[in-house]
């Protein structure tokens, strides 16, 4: 059994009293992330260095506490929601940019650094960090690594995994290991590849070596609007099939356009069935050539108007509407539940129709804003939790949406992760043997099952003697996972 009080004293000794919280308010604040799931924790700590993180993990191991890593808490799948007597290790006080080395096209940063702060710091050097999740003002690089975060510009530039060269990771026993290196290839198995997207279940990222992407000389942002959702989606496939991969291709349906316009005043056409934001970049010649293809594809698919941002201010405004869309839906209802499934691009229309049908059947308001170029849907269900029975309807509709995407040949998550929320859907897409291999990876890093127990892998996934939620810390925590922990 965990000895919370002894752990608390040891942590105060190691990190100082200001960095260790155990008051009821703190424990409530850190009992959840941005998902609908609420949990519980015993202690919250704020390390300021890799050595601090290592001390936290050693102390947790010694006193039998499960550990939940946390960045900015913007995760949408419950990956940072603690369970039971967890020690929550928050990296938000580790926000330094340690080194920028343009000549090596890399930078070393601490895990708590907000994504947008990094992009802004790199701009004077002529570079950027390509992943740009909508949460980028707040979400941390460490969190981006944990969820293999995406964002609109991942269409052309790839997801976080493509932009991480090395990670200094504190393993569950408190030892520190560098995965990957500053060199393009490394000796041994590519552990960096499995750590990215591992949702805090393998260790805690203490330092990140990111790859720098050169900023394009020219950028053109276009706003296209359509009378039919199907025409908008068909334009997306048409562009890709024509050999153009725009920097970004984002779709918003009528409901979200109206909400975003009220909030951002971006000049979105509120009578359109759907709009498409397309951004192309490169040299002036590349921008021109790509724009021509996009225009042809749009006209073939009955676009109403094509608006081209005249300057940086207009471009920023168009993006403001898109990136603040999730905030803007607060006008529709006080709560929302956001999905994140990926389907083949050719199935976009079919799946969207299905999503509208599911929402209508459960009497729920659904709006859609998503990375159309990647086939990454974000159906957003708006609701008021205080109305009895509503949350249950939301969860039933959510279940159906997930199954719809999987049936269309899709994945459970494109960029938010599995966390707690989708853990029990994993057998929908993986066999027991597939999951056993996943458990093998986990046990290689964390033989005692101490890191972020109950996340990602469903109960029963096992690698040899190692079993999820059996004979491990997770087993104790499992017993404490209350019915309705989803709420």
């Amino acid at each position: 059994m965990a000895d919370v009080e002894a752990a608390r004293r040891a942590l105060i000794e190691a990190l100082g009293p200001d960095e260790v919280l155990s008051d009821p308010l703190a424990l409530t604040l850190y009992a959840r992330d941005a998902s609908l799931v609420e949990g519980a924790c015993a202690l919250v700590v704020f390390p300021r260095s890799v050595a601090d993180i290592a001390a936290c993990l050693r102390i947790a191991a010694e006193h039998g506490l499960p550990v939940v890593p946390r960045g900015s808490g913007t995760g949408l799948a419950g990956g940072a929601t603690p369970i039971g007597d967890a020690l929550v290790v928050v990296t938000s006080k580790m926000t330094r940019i340690l080194e920028v080395r343009p000549q090596d096209r890399l930078a070393w940063v601490e895990p708590g650094l907000p994504n947008l702060d990094l992009a802004n710091a790199l701009r004077p050097h002529g570079f950027t960090f390509a992943p740009d999740p909508s949460s980028q003002q707040t979400s941390s690089i460490g969190g981006n690594v944990s969820t293999n975060a995406g964002g609109p510009h991942c269409l052309a530039y790839g997801v976080t995994s493509n932009h991480v060269l090395a990670l200094d990771v504190v393993l569950p026993d408190g030892s520190v290991e560098r995965l990957g290196s500053e060199s393009p290839e490394t000796a041994g198995y590519d552990l960096r590849a499995v750590l990215v997207g591992s949702e805090g279940t393998l260790g805690i990222v203490g330092g990140v070596c990111v790859r720098l992407t050169p900023l394009p000389s020219d950028v053109r942002t276009m706003l296209l609007d359509f009378d039919a959702v199907a025409d908008c989606a068909a334009t997306v496939s048409h562009v890709i099939a024509s050999g153009v991969v725009p920097a970004a291709m984002e779709m918003m349906d009528h409901g979200i356009v109206v909400a975003a316009e009220r909030f951002a005043h971006a000049g979105y056409p509120t009578d359109a069935a759907a709009i498409l934001i397309v951004e192309v970049d490169g040299t002036p010649g590349a921008v021109e050539a790509q724009s021509r293809v996009v225009e042809t594809a749009a006209r073939t698919n009955r676009v109403r108007t094509i608006r081209i941002a005249a300057d940086e201010a207009e471009r920023a405004l168009i993006w403001k509407g898109r990136k603040s869309a999730f905030g803007a839906v607060a006008q529709i209802a006080p709560h929302y539940h956001l999905h994140d499934c990926v389907v083949p691009r050719s199935k976009l229309v079919e799946v969207l129709d299905g999503v509208y049908e599911i929402a209508a059947r459960h009497d729920l308001v659904v709006t859609n804003v998503f990375h159309a170029g990647d086939g990454n849907l974000h159906p957003l269900l708006s609701f008021d939790r205080s109305v009895p029975g509503t949350l249950e309807r939301v969860l039933r509709a959510s279940d159906e949406i997930v199954r719809l995407c999987v049936d269309a040949g899709g994945a459970l998550s494109g960029e938010h992760g599995i966390g707690l929320e989708k853990r029990d859907f994993m057998p929908l897409v993986f066999t027991a043997e597939d999951l056993s291999a996943q458990a093998c990876v986990r046990s290689a890093f964390d033989p005692d099952g101490r890191m972020n127990p109950l996340k990602v892998l469903p109960d029963g996934a096992r690698c040899g003697d190692f079993a999820m939620a059996r004979g491990s810390v997770a087993a104790e925590a499992s017993a404490e996972l209350p019915e309705g922990a989803w709420i």
Binding site: S161, A187, G188, L191, A241, T283, G285, M426, A437
Partner: protein, 348 residues
């Protein structure tokens, strides 16, 4: 020594399970083009993947191709070209997809096309203990569990047999052009700074080549920018890249990987080609002992590696010993050590 030619994935599973039962060691073989990379290993049979060469799915508008791992990269290239696309491995025509992936091969155009690992979206693998597993999905984005499909890239066939993959492909460029420049210190770096989105800048003792790929107007613009740095001595449209390959004339080729700015400190006196801004250099060598040892010492000194990719010489020692996690992974996926024991880094 036995040769095993599975005709299906199920036969691969059978072969690996039998090998476990009989404690017979297997070397997984594709097109034999990347086999030199790896430490000498003892084995009792070769398991050939070349009969697993079917195309499973290809829809150009999805920019994803699914194929069995024994398909030759030349065949894949022809299929994709018909859809106006490519998989940028730049491997020899008769190399297999699985071989290029297992070896973690690098394209000369890596600056633009990225690491091969990042093109792998889904993989089916028969693990060393005979489990048939799948990881990833046939979508361009996916965060659904651990990316085992990326872990097997570069694992040299020591964790499992890659039997099928879904790959992210890219549109073929409208124009390809190589500009050649005379070698001079600092020129390659200056050209890259002027054209940061180039497909490649390769520096050799015989000259520098800038590879431009993209829209015609874009390539013209980039050529103009580069010409402001130095006058090109030649412009070659289309054609194989790199044109200059001095390392190819030597019996042994090592692939150096170091932080990009350190590459000039590491390469030998002659017969090399270094990818500016990437940190990869191919170095042609005559002798194993003196030259290779010295090259590896220089690579280690700047935190890099120098495995041999053609000829004898193996991987060399890793800069740091294999960690406990590395060892546990190998044990979990190949508990009876039937997959070419000793072939991997640090004896994995």
């Amino acid at each position: 020594m036995d040769l095993i030619h599975p005709q299906s994935k199920a036969e691969v599973v059978d072969a690996v399970r039998r090998a476990n039962a009989d404690r017979r060691r297997l070397l997984v073989v594709g097109g034999r083009r990347h086999l030199d990379k790896g430490n000498p290993a003892e084995f009792d049979a070769e398991l050939w993947t070349t009969q697993l060469d079917r195309l499973i799915a290809y829809e150009p508008a999805e920019m994803i191709v699914v194929a069995e791992a024994g398909m030759r990269t030349g065949e894949l290239g022809r299929i994709l070209a018909a859809g106006g696309q490519e998989w940028p491995a730049d491997a020899p025509e008769d190399a297999t997809i699985g071989g290029a992936l297992a070896a973690g091969a690098s394209s000369a155009r890596r600056l633009k096309v990225g690491a091969l690992r990042d093109t792998v979206l889904e993989a089916e693998v028969v693990t060393g203990d005979g489990r048939f597993i799948r990881s990833g999905a046939r979508t361009v984005k996916n965060v659904t569990g651990y990316d085992l499909h990326k872990l097997v890239v570069g694992s040299l066939g020591t964790l499992g047999v890659i039997v099928q993959v879904a790959l992210k492909v890219r549109p073929l460029p409208e124009t390809r052009r190589t500009l050649r420049f005379a070698s001079a210190p600092g020129i390659a770096e200056a050209i890259l700074a002027a054209v940061p989105a180039a497909a490649a800048v390769i520096s050799t003792p015989d000259g520098i080549e800038l590879r431009l790929e993209g829209w015609s107007a874009e390539v013209d613009e980039q050529a103009l920018l580069a010409s402001a740095i130095a006058a090109p001595i030649d412009a070659i449209v289309g054609a194989r890249f790199p044109g200059l390959r001095p390392w190819d004339e030597r019996p042994v080729v090592a692939e150096v990987a170091v932080p990009p700015s350190r590459i000039a400190e590491v390469v030998p006196a002659d017969a090399w080609g270094a990818l500016t801004g990437v940190g990869i250099a191919w170095c042609g060598l005559d002798s194993l002992d003196g030259e290779l040892t010295a090259l590896r010492e220089r690579a280690h000194a700047v935190g890099g590696i120098a495995p041999v990719i053609r000829g004898p010489g193996g991987l060399g020692d890793p800069p740091v010993p294999a960690s406990e996690v590395q060892r546990r992974l190998k044990t979990a996926f190949d508990p009876n050590a039937v997959l070419a024991p000793g072939r991997g880094w640090g004896g994995a």
